[in-house]
Symmetry: C2
Subunit: 133 residues, 2 copies
DNA sequence: CTGTATCCTGGGCGATACTG
DNA sequence: CAGTATCGCCCAGGATACAG
């Protein structure tokens, strides 16, 4: 399932979407494809125990607004990728940590990042070629 | 680089974005995260020689509009993931084919799909739990 | 059959102000 | 410090019509 050998026969139309739970696939890729999720996941990964407080994450991600950090963290928590712990202090302290699930997602994600590092130059070249035609 | 061991010291803020070409990372994830790109790539992969004509791809992707198929294919071509060949016939025939570059992207992508297949149930469970609080 | 050209809507996201 | 609330812009993407 999902192997990449060359076929010699055309596929049954809609085979793809029957075998793969298209809703779940699209859902994840939409999440991961949004503007900030991956940066948050990768940032948390850098901290000891994959754990950091709100403001610490914020400082590691230039350009993110407070609102989007809150929203994206909340979504990640909802999906079970990140856990959230509130400390009843003043001033308040909230710590976020990658869950086991979140950590497992980072592996395939890292593969994608490696691909980017290896191939982004070729992509840019292709774009330039295409644009000047 | 990009390893996943636990750190014992907090990261240098903005380390992430210095080491990874954030523009390129975000660019790819935005593409891959759009509504149709992956389905198109996975569809082409199913055909002999990773090659199919416009209408054949269309039939394999329920719900895609003609416009979005055209637009997304054009973007993929611009990025060098897909090549396009026009046959001067009537009625016209146009064939699209995964390039070498496009095929290499499918490997990390497949890892992500496998993750979805393995974990989407747990994600849904987490969502239900979160929502009823 | 394989496109292009318009129009239109929803929602992602930023800016800003306010709160416990 | 770590949020909410509100407003408004922009643009991905759907519907529809037309063209080579």
């Amino acid at each position: 399932m999902g192997k990449r050998e060359n076929r010699t026969k055309p596929p049954d139309p809609a085979t793809l979407c029957k075998s793969k739970d298209p809703a779940a696939v699209r859902e994840l890729l939409t999440k991961v494809g949004d503007k900030w999720s991956i940066f948050i996941l990768l940032t948390l990964e850098m901290f000891p125990d994959c754990r950091a407080r709100f403001s610490a994450v914020e400082k590691c991600i230039p350009g993110i607004s407070q609102k989007m950090l809150t929203v994206t963290l909340r979504n990640l928590e909802r999906d079970g990728m990140v856990s959230r712990e509130i400390f009843p202090e003043v001033p308040p302290r909230v710590e976020y940590q990658l869950t086991k699930l979140g950590e497992t997602l980072l592996e395939p994600l890292q593969a994608l990042l490696d691909w980017v590092n290896a191939n982004s130059e070729q992509v840019r070249k292709s774009q330039r070629l295409f644009d000047q035609k």
